[in-house]
């Protein structure tokens, strides 16, 4: 089923709608968002200069740094009174990225997620259990409103306590699961341990997974555990753009359909900023053309993908983005949590007895991500107690900083690699291990 007519517009109709909304957005942003106006003025660009969709590439980029520089509300295009909701994502140095929603934005968000959920097979008869963390992150509430709008029964179980999650699933007859792929697999694993056969004893037939990379290997694992008839689709979004709902897969699993009437995608060369021809891999840049509170123009997502414009077998004509292949900067997504190496560095530097060098290793451990931080002793000791103190301090501080459990590995001085120029402190082994 296709949720909205806009998903099936002809290319010409879609482009006409996009241009109209783009022009309106640029005009409004120019008037109401001084930092962006300054960017346009600097290159002598006026809203009237945007005459066609091609002119989009003349507009300056917005980056995460712009959001930080204008913390918390500097890039907002509406007065604070008009906000209905504020969300925030984790920041590297304590300052998060703040996003806001007007009443209109909430409606847009709900609409976008409804479409994606529908593409993933959701319907009014579903019982949807949302195993994303509720709170400042956009994931849980985004899916919540979208699925509710479809008419599904929501079980807002949030994260954690897998046994209870499974109890709800069994007793409430959950048919749709919202989770990160790794947590979906973890739940199946726990179910087995408890003597529950997910395929026989549970009714879950739809998995809307997001917030981390869904590799083909993981999808296969999902089928293995939850049944080969399960509909597993991944969806994409980020809080800066809105949250979940930017794009999502349909049953044909051939890329994520972008809600193009709300978001214009471009692919650029991340080094030069130059727009790349259709079909080429590069950094995804998104322009929000219907947002009120935070209409980011040419936002650099740092996600690497490519675009496919050919209409899909499902009947949708919207542009599709390939499943992500990585990120152009060094942010790591570990168990669905954004982790910046600089956060780990901050911890390492703050613990007495350690040198400034460290190495971050991320690997697959069963169905979960495992984070190991290797650190070097800067002191000598004859006491296990002291070694344990150092280890535990690092572990605890990482837990507070990232909300993740990490393994801390103490090393002798001068064990870890030293770098001239840009250090390579991260070893992400997950892709090699799938």
């Amino acid at each position: 089923m296709i949720w909205a007519r806009e998903e099936t517009l002809s290319r010409a109709e879609m482009e006409a709608l996009q241009l109209e909304r783009l022009q309106e957005t640029v005009k409004r942003v120019y008037e109401k968002v001084p930092p962006y106006r300054a960017k346009m003025d600097k290159i002598g660009l006026k809203p009237e200069d945007i005459k066609s969709l091609k002119d989009l590439s003349r507009l300056p980029f917005v980056t995460k740094q712009d959001l930080r520089d204008n913390y918390p509300f500097g890039l907002f295009a509406v007065p604070k009174e008009e906000l209905l909701r504020i969300h925030a994502s984790s920041g590297t140095t304590g300052k998060p990225t703040v996003v806001g929603y007007t009443k209109g934005d909430m409606e847009t968000w709900t609409e976008c997620v409804s479409r994606i959920a529908c593409a993933g097979g959701a319907s009014a008869s579903d019982v949807a259990q949302i195993c994303f963390g509720y709170g400042m992150f956009t994931g849980a509430l985004g899916l919540h409103y979208g699925l509710e709008n479809i008419g599904a029964t929501i079980v807002p179980s949030s994260t954690g306590n897998s046994e209870k999650q499974l109890m709800y699933m069994k007793d409430f007859g959950t048919t749709l699961l919202v989770a990160t792929p790794s947590y979906a697999l973890r739940l199946a694993e726990v179910a087995r341990e408890l003597g529950i056969d997910p395929q026989r004893d549970l009714k879950v037939k739809i998995g809307l997974v997001g917030s981390e990379l869904l590799t083909d290997a993981m999808r296969e694992e999902m089928y293995k555990y939850w049944g080969s008839d399960m509909k597993v689709t991944s969806n994409y979004g980020m809080s800066e753009l809105m949250g979940p709902g930017v794009s999502g897969e349909c049953e044909h699993l051939c890329g994520m359909h972008i809600n193009e009437d709300f978001f214009i995608p471009e692919i650029i060369n991340p080094d030069t900023g130059e727009v790349l021809p259709e079909g080429e891999w590069g950094e995804l840049v998104i322009t929000c053309i219907k947002k009120e509170a935070l209409p980011l123009i040419r936002y650099r997502t740092k996600d690497i993908t490519r675009l496919i414009y050919e209409p899909c077998k499902c009947g949708r004509t919207t542009c599709r983005m390939e499943n992500l292949s990585g990120r152009s900067d060094d942010m790591l997504k570990i168990r669905g949590v954004n982790v910046f190496p600089s956060q780990i560095e901050e911890v390492v530097l703050s613990v007495e007895g350690l040198g400034p060098h460290y190495e971050i290793i991320v690997e697959r451990d069963g169905y979960s991500d495992k984070l190991t931080v290797r650190v070097e002793l800067a002191v000598a000791t004859d006491s296990f107690k002291e070694l344990e103190r150092i280890e535990k301090t690092v572990k605890n501080k990482l837990k507070v900083m990232l909300g993740l459990d990490a393994k801390v590995q103490l090393e002798s001085p001068n064990t870890l690699a030293r770098f001239e120029g840009k250090a390579k402190r991260v070893r992400d082994l997950r892709k090699e291990q799938k």
Binding site: L377, A380, D382, S383, Q409, L410, P413, T415
Partner: protein
């Protein structure tokens, strides 16, 4: 009446102990006693050597986290119950032993290397009970 022990942090990784021993060999340092205690991830190597300061320095230079620790090397006669007697004296005075290991260098006596929580107090107890110890100088002369 104390002696210097060399303590070295080593990761539980193949070849690490061998590297420490190579460094000592290359610098002509003789090991008289060795103890290796470990956890799942790392261990502490404790050594009584003829030239402790030099040993620590060359190990540091080779990239090992190493230090000198003041320990007691207590002479224990080759007699049944000799060690028990010494430990009883220490325990009676509420001194805790953190770790200990053996050292055998003389034909008549054995020795134990001991680290306690209160070094000065332990020294006094041993002196008061006429229990003999070996110093770094004694060790060097061996």
């Amino acid at each position: 009446m104390t002696a210097n022990q060399v303590s070295v942090f080593i990761e539980n990784r193949q070849g690490r102990l061998g590297q420490v021993l190579s460094v000592l060999k290359e610098n002509d340092i003789n090991i008289l006693s060795i103890s290796l205690a470990d956890t799942t991830e790392y261990g502490l190597l404790r050594l009584i050597v003829n030239k402790p300061t030099e040993a620590r320095d060359v190990l540091l230079k080779a990239g090992f986290s190493s230090m000198l620790t003041e320990v007691l090397i207590i002479k224990v006669p080759h007699q049944t119950g000799a060690l028990q007697k010494i430990l009883a004296v220490i325990a009676e005075n509420n001194v805790s032993i953190e770790y200990m290991y053996g050292l055998s260098v003389e034909s008549t006596d054995a020795s134990i290397v001991m680290k306690t929580n209160e070094l000065d107090k332990a020294c006094k107890i041993l002196a008061g009970s006429n229990i003999g110890t070996l110093t770094s100088k004694d060790i060097e002369a061996l």
